[in-house]
Each structure stands twice: as structure tokens, then as C-alpha cells.
């Protein structure tokens, strides 16, 4: 760490241990997200089951992070950037835990999907979307650890891309359902999956916002860029 150390060096060690745990957690979450999308594309039910089982490890890290953060607050009474760091870590941990749950849900839906008819093209798009979100997560975490507000702002701006992919997929799934009723069940599952990944993108963005808060002391006050146009889409043919 290049920052001036605390007079109590054990404080620095506690903060480093907390950050290390968060980085470990984000690695597991990124893997769960990309692996769940890959398992969906290849309809690999064994891999999907593994992802569902591994979510417990992510939840447990979230619990440990909250426990340690509470301990630091109680022992150290952190102020200024130390306080912002603890708050940012707790919020980031909560966001990562949610992404873990979303990836688990993607994996769970792979199991019924493997039993029924397929909807063409969707899973490839979902895998690309998941990969983009995983990169956003990784870079939001890097921005948080390095207190890099510029990188965080860049990540935050990329949520629009995820929204646009989701919009396109939404319309395509709607078209499939209108064309053939037999597509409704798989398309509904795929839509929930796409929505999960779009939500994971929102969580990556919120981690980026925490990185901005940590680095600057302020949350960005401008409205975050949004491109979800599905609210207007009543019927893709109209």
C-alpha cells in the first residue's frame, strides 16, 4: 500500500485483510457469473449444479466481511477515508453477494431449460453479456482497491451497453414467444436469466459508485446513464 501507514500498524493489517477477503469474494462471484452463462450455453447441468452449491462460499465470505468490518468500527472508530473504506467494502460485499445469488439463479434455470426445446441465439448473447458484466465487476473492484475514480467512472458508463444488449434480447425473446407458444416456457426462463445478468451489471455499477465515494468523498450526483427501453415495449411488432 502506497498510502501513509497508520501509527497503529495493526489497523493497516486489519484493513488489508478485509480488502483481501473482498477481492477473493469478487473473484468467486465473477467466475460464478461467467461459468453459469457458459453452463447455460452448453446445457451442462453438472456444472450448473456445482455453481448452485458454490454460492454458500460466497455467502460465507459476505458474512465474514460484515463481521470483520463491524469489529473494525467497534475497535478503531474509523474516520475520513478509513470510514469511507469500511462503508464502501460493506456495500460492495452486499452487492457481490447479490450477484452471487443472481448467478446461482441462472444456474438453477439451466436445469429445467436442458429438458425443453431451445430458443435459438439467446444463450450466446447471454454469455457475452455475462462476460461484459464480469469485466465490469473486476474493474469496479480494481477501482475500489486502488481508489481510482476515473476507472470507476468509466465502468459506470458501461452499464448502458449491458442495458442495450438486454433490450435487444428482450425484443427477440418476445418475438419468439409471439411466433410459437411452445417457446414461452424457455423464453420466460431465458428472460429471467437475461434480467439477472442485467441486474448484476447494476450491482457492478453500484460498486463503481462506491469506489468513486471512497476516492472523492462524494457519490456521483448525476443521474446514472440508463438505457432500459423495455418499459415502452408493449409489442415488438407495433
Amino acid at each position: 500500500m502506497t498510502e501513509t501507514p497508520h501509527i497503529a500498524s495493526s489497523f493497516d493489517r486489519e484493513i488489508e485483510a478485509l480488502l483481501a477477503r473482498l477481492v477473493l469474494m469478487s473473484g468467486l462471484v465473477e467466475t460464478a457469473l461467467t461459468d453459469s452463462a457458459a453452463a447455460l450455453e452448453s446445457l451442462d447441468t453438472a456444472a450448473a449444479t456445482r455453481i448452485v452449491d458454490q454460492d454458500a462460499a460466497i455467502d460465507s465470505l459476505d458474512e465474514q466481511i460484515n463481521f470483520e468490518a463491524a469489529g473494525i468500527i467497534a475497535r478503531r472508530g474509523p474516520t475520513a477515508r478509513d470510514l469511507r473504506l469500511i462503508l464502501a467494502v460493506m456495500r460492495a460485499s452486499a452487492a457481490l453477494e447479490r450477484v452471487g445469488d443472481l448467478a446461482k439463479n441462472v444456474a438453477k434455470r439451466t436445469l429445467p431449460l436442458s429438458q425443453i426445446r431451445q430458443v435459438e441465439g439467446a444463450t450466446g448473447t447471454i454469455r457475452r453479456m455475462a462476460r461484459l458484466v464480469a469485466v465490469m465487476l473486476e474493474e469496479a473492484m480494481r477501482a475500489l482497491v486502488r481508489k481510482d475514480a476515473a476507472l470507476a467512472a468509466d465502468v459506470r458508463g458501461r452499464d448502458v451497453d449491458i442495458d442495450q444488449i438486454y433490450n435487444t434480447l428482450f425484443r427477440s425473446l418476445l418475438t419468439h414467444m409471439l411466433e410459437n407458444q411452445a417457446n414461452i416456457t424457455p423464453a420466460m426462463h431465458l428472460h429471467f436469466i437475461a434480467k439477472n445478468i442485467e441486474r448484476a451489471g447494476d450491482h457492478a455499477t453500484s460498486i463503481a459508485e462506491q469506489a468513486i465515494y471512497l476516492a472523492t468523498g462524494d457519490l456521483p450526483d448525476d443521474e446514472r446513464p440508463k438505457a432500459d427501453s423495455t418499459l415502452q415495449a408493449a409489442n415488438p411488432r407495433t
Binding site: 498510502e3 501513509t4 501507514p5 497508520h6 501509527i7 497503529a8 489497523f11 478503531r76 472508530g77 474509523p78 474516520t79 475520513a80 477515508r81 478509513d82 470510514l83 469511507r84 468523498g217 462524494d218
Partner: protein, 265 residues
């Protein structure tokens, strides 16, 4: 009132009680305090923080001319209380100290009864005309200091026989008995246990509703809890003055940040 709860006060609407402009303090040839300019707002608790020897107590003692008692001390610049220059030759420091009261680090009750400790100020300043009026001031001051219920049946007992926390509240009662406009507190809780500290902090918050309180403290947590404004002193300079919440969550100066987060800086 819960002392742990920071009251929401819009300090932007409050008037300055004390205004300091370009204050310099020298102890002999040592330039102990440099170019300090700050407003102490009415009905606000202002915390002075900083490492030992930073000048915060020196500045506090300028505000009621306690530095007059130090032979080598010389104060320059201008300090006004309600617009009046307190270093003007026509100002009697004793009268000034009735308007700007002070509570010290170590409780220092006079070796007199509880009653006489509180009655001392009103008596020497001739603030009351009858014994009944004095009784009233003593009771009111002890109530304000949240000590009345504990001592009302033994007002003639010596003040020095009270517990540390009670003695400090007695000193606060003594300070508020003269009806001051500003109360200066120099580390008022450093000799107290956490319970007495919480009581004094709750008291500070109540007193703040009537006048200005200025507190010097080495406890960051205490400054964050009790004050609405914080001033950080370092090496004889006033480095940063601002809203307490801002100072403790997002200070503007890297020296403030280093100090309050416990870093070498």
C-alpha cells in the same frame, strides 16, 4: 436527550458570537499561534482538535484572556465578543470571564461547600440582590449541570467530597451560574469515566441550546459526537475549520485527514 445523537442544526443561519481575526500568540520568542481567524457561532458546539502543542488550548485561553495570567504570553490580532474587542483596555478581564466561562481538564472545585462553589461567581459579580435570589441561581445552575437531584440534600457538604464526574458537573454549574454567553471547556472529560463522560456530553448538548460551547478534546469520537463545527490545529496554525460531519467523513486538508485517521503525517 441522547448524547450519541448529533442534533441536526443548520449552522448557516447562526450568528457569530466570537470573531477572531489574525490572532498571533507568542510565549517569549516562541510564536505559538499564527494567523488564526475563525468565527465561534452562537448556540453551537465548536470542537478544537489537534496534537499536543498545536495551539488549540492556547487559542481557547485567548477567548477569555486566560493568557493574561501567563507573564511571557503576548496576544496580537483582534478577538471580539458580540462585536466588542475583548482586548480593549476598557474591558475588565474578570467581567469578561463571567461572560466567557471556563471548565478545566481536572475538576477543580473550591474547598468550599457545594452551595458556595456555585454561589461564588454570582456573589463576586454582584448578580443577585437577596439570599432567595441566590438560592434560585444556585438551584437553576445545578439543574442545568444535571447535578441538582444528586446534591440537593447536601448543599453544605464540601464540593471536594463529590465523585470526579460530579465535581466536573459542579464546575460546570459554577461556570454557568454567572450566565455566560460562551462556555470554554479544556478537555473536560479526560479525567472522567465513560458514564460521567456521557453525562457531561449530554449536558454540553443541552447547554449548547442556550449559548456557545467551545471544547478542546483529544478524543476524536467525542469531537465527532458533541460538536457541530470542528477546528483542526497543527503546529500553531488553524489548518481547517468546517462542519463536523464533513471534517470526519471527508476532510479537505491532507493534514486533517492524517491526524484524524491516526496516520503519521
Amino acid at each position: 436527550m441522547n448524547a450519541m445523537q448529533t442534533p441536526v442544526i443548520d449552522t448557516a443561519t447562526l450568528q457569530p458570537r466570537i470573531t477572531a481575526q489574525d490572532v498571533q500568540v507568542y510565549y517569549g520568542s516562541n510564536h505559538a499561534l499564527r494567523d488564526v481567524s475563525v468565527d465561534i457561532l452562537d448556540r453551537t458546539t465548536t470542537a478544537f482538535i489537534g496534537p499536543s502543542g498545536c495551539g488549540k488550548s492556547t487559542f481557547l485561553r485567548c477567548l477569555n484572556r486566560m493568557n493574561d495570567t501567563v507573564a511571557t504570553a503576548r496576544v496580537e490580532g483582534r478577538i471580539t465578543l458580540d462585536g466588542q474587542d475583548i482586548y480593549d483596555k476598557r474591558v475588565d478581564p474578570v467581567q469578561l470571564r463571567a461572560r466567557v466561562g471556563m471548565v478545566f481538564q481536572k475538576p477543580n472545585p473550591f474547598p468550599k461547600s457545594i452551595y458556595d462553589n456555585v454561589a461564588y461567581g454570582p456573589r463576586i459579580h454582584g448578580l443577585t440582590r437577596s439570599r432567595a435570589e441566590l438560592d434560585e441561581v444556585v438551584e437553576k445552575s445545578l439543574r442545568r449541570a444535571a447535578l441538582w437531584d444528586e446534591v440537593k440534600d447536601r448543599l453544605s457538604a464540601p464540593g471536594t467530597g463529590l465523585s470526579g464526574g460530579q465535581q466536573q458537573r459542579l464546575c460546570i454549574a459554577r461556570a454557568v451560574a454567572t450566565g455566560p454567553e460562551v462556555l470554554l471547556m479544556d478537555e473536560p472529560c479526560s479525567a472522567l469515566d465513560p458514564i460521567a463522560t456521557a453525562q457531561v456530553e449530554a449536558l454540553i448538548d443541552e447547554l449548547r441550546e442556550q449559548f456557545s460551547v467551545v471544547i478542546v478534546t483529544h478524543s476524536m469520537q467525542q469531537a465527532a459526537r458533541v460538536s457541530q463545527k470542528t477546528a483542526f490545529f497543527h503546529l500553531g496554525n488553524l489548518v481547517e475549520y468546517g462542519d463536523t460531519t464533513q471534517i470526519f467523513t471527508n476532510p479537505g486538508d491532507p493534514r486533517t485527514e492524517s491526524y484524524i485517521t491516526g496516520r503519521i503525517g
